[in-house]
Amino acid sequence: MTRTITYQQAINETLRQEMEKDKMVFILGEDVRVSPFGQTAGLVEQFGKERVRNTCIAESAIVGTAIGAAMTGMRPVAEIMFADFMYLAMDAIASQAASWRYMTGGQVKLPLVIRTVSGAGWAMGYNHSQSTEASFMHPPGLKIAVPSTPHDAAGLLRTAIRDDNPVLFFEHKFLFPTSGEVPDEEYAIPFGQADVKRQGKHVTVVATLLMVHKALAAADELSQEGIEVEVVDPRTLTPLDKETILASVKKTGRLVTVEESRARNGVGAEIAAMVASEGFDFLDAPIQRVGAPDVPIPYSPPLESTFIPNEDRIIEAVRRVLG
């Protein structure tokens, strides 16, 4: 049996269920008690302020505190209010959380999750709109989850909380109110397993988060002309499910990557490089990357919507790879 819930509910109830199961799980971050977007709303009533712990405004210290708690037996779920603010904790995430286990030769493990919210389109300007996940694909030692549906959000968050490694969990602000089906029973989605969100045979489009939905809309439109796009959602960027992407490209011979942030040095750059070196023979056309232009995120709505990749740009890229 299944039921329909929102993306925001999926996150909220998974947190609740995992906190009920394991007393070591606790939440910390700015305003997690009241929760501006609602992901942690209502948890304090059940678990108290000790386990739903408001911190001061200091992203580096939120992550640092989570690291220390994780290495000594707790399972912290830290929240960084906006993905832009992950950069304030860059050393803590990219150097410390990522490397601490390695630098101690495996003497400690760091079961911690950092949840954050990405995405442009709310006219919030350059410091409340970024999608920063690509920046964290570079340092080793991290795992990165990018759920695009309520089903994936709940399943990946459960895996993240139970994982013994630092996991970055990117939520998209536009996805919070979206709804979808989830099984009644508890489930977890293993990391490194992409999901083919739509089957197709002419072009592979790899997309994440909100871009999955734009790619699906583009695919619907192209389908009316007889162009069948396969939409692959990697669901985790580290580890990356190369097999599913390569198998899809083998079938279609054509690849378009789509991400909300800048294409330069982005998620698609890594996927394109991987396919170019491991699946070159499958390719019938040069790979196309769809992403934002190389500028900060501007405020004015016409500028902001020029920044964010849309269905038209995905359709154009699909046409380009079809020649």
Binding site: A58, A61, G64, G73, M74, D91, Y102, G105, K143
Partner: protein, 319 residues
């Protein structure tokens, strides 16, 4: 407070061991046998040993880059230090950490290379022991220079807000890398900053007196253990050593170094031990020989230990 004769000798031996370890490191560098530069704590041994003495094995310590003092103080043994310095598989981090030593068995959680990156991590271990109800204390040890790092501020704030079992221990050795700390720090003292967070603080004027260091630290550790929250203690001392082996030097006045050599914490403790008839000069000379032999054995153990294999590079990244 007074130490027993046994305690005095045990602490003296640790200080001596630290000095001999670092001297040996210098020799091994000079002979080209080891390549890792040293940041020695010569002249600061009373702080490193005095602050760690009140800690229990299960307490957490976040150490500094300045020599091996607090590592020895917290219970790491020379052979584990040398094996890691030599980059061998017998090192506790299997050669991956090098100077970023750790020995989690004795609460040495690891030395970070980005100064100050461990302030909040220490808040995290203290929060964890409070939430788990284990009674463990966390100590974060840092230099005057590092006290200006950004995370100092939220870490003091959160430690105070949550009344965590943590001691902030600051060795003010008057130099931050290649400049006197007053060139880059606005105040003479670091410890009074604690007042801004509602945290009690103390200055140990004579950080080269191990008994004074111990007494102030023990009080702070006890407070933490009783659940009364954080304390910031500052220890005034002096870095007789260069910042690192091979730094350009010349920025510490010669007379200043000579003055401080007269206040060498090991010499002073030694004089006290002899004066109080806890041991004779001969006893202490025997102890010194033992310590030298221990260091030599440990170095030999490391030198004879196997190198990691290239494929070991992929081990220990993920749990």
């Amino acid at each position: 407070m007074a130490f027993s004769a046994e305690e005095m000798l045990a602490l003296y031996r640790k200080m001596l061991l630290v000095r001999r370890m670092e001297e040996k490191h210098g020799e091994l560098l000079a002979s080209g046998d080891i390549w890792m530069m040293g940041h020695f704590g010569t002249g600061q041994e009373a702080v490193a040993i005095g602050i760690t003495a009140p800690l229990k094995k299960e307490d957490y310590l976040f150490p500094t880059h300045r020599g091996v003092g607090e590592f020895i103080g917290k219970g790491m043994v020379p052979k584990d230090i040398w094996a890691e310095y030599y980059g061998r598989t017998t090192g506790l981090a299997k050669g991956k950490g090098g100077l970023h030593l750790s020995d989690v068995r004795v609460g040495l959680m690891g030395l970070v290379g980005s100064l100050g990156a461990d302030f909040a991590v220490a808040v995290g271990t203290a929060l964890s022991s409070k939430m788990r109800g284990t009674g463990q204390v966390t100590m974060i040890y840092f230099g005057d220079g590092t006290s200006n790092q950004a995370d100092f501020h939220p870490s003091m704030n959160l430690a105070a807000l949550w009344q965590l079992p943590i001691v902030f221990a600051c060795a003010n050795n008057q130099y931050s890398e290649l400049a006197h700390y007053r060139e880059t720090t606005s105040t003479e003292h670091i410890a009074p900053r604690a007042a801004g967070y509602g945290v009690p603080w103390k200055i140990v004027e004579d950080g080269n007196d191990i008994q004074a260091v111990y007494a102030a630290t023990a009080e702070a550790v006890d407070r933490a253990r009783r659940g009364e929250g954080p304390t910031l203690v500052e220890y005034k001392t002096y870095r007789i050593a260069a910042h690192f082996t091979g730094d350009p030097g010349g920025y510490q006045p010669k007379e200043e170094i000579e003055e401080w050599k007269k206040k060498d914490p090991i010499d002073r403790f030694r004089a006290r031990i002899i004066e109080q008839k806890v041991a004779t000069a001969d006893d202490l000379e025997n102890m010194n020989r033992e310590v030298i032999a221990e260091v030599e054995d440990a170095v030999k153990y490391a030198q004879e230990s196997p190198w990691p294999a290239p494929e070991d590079i992929y081990q220990d990244l993920y749990a």
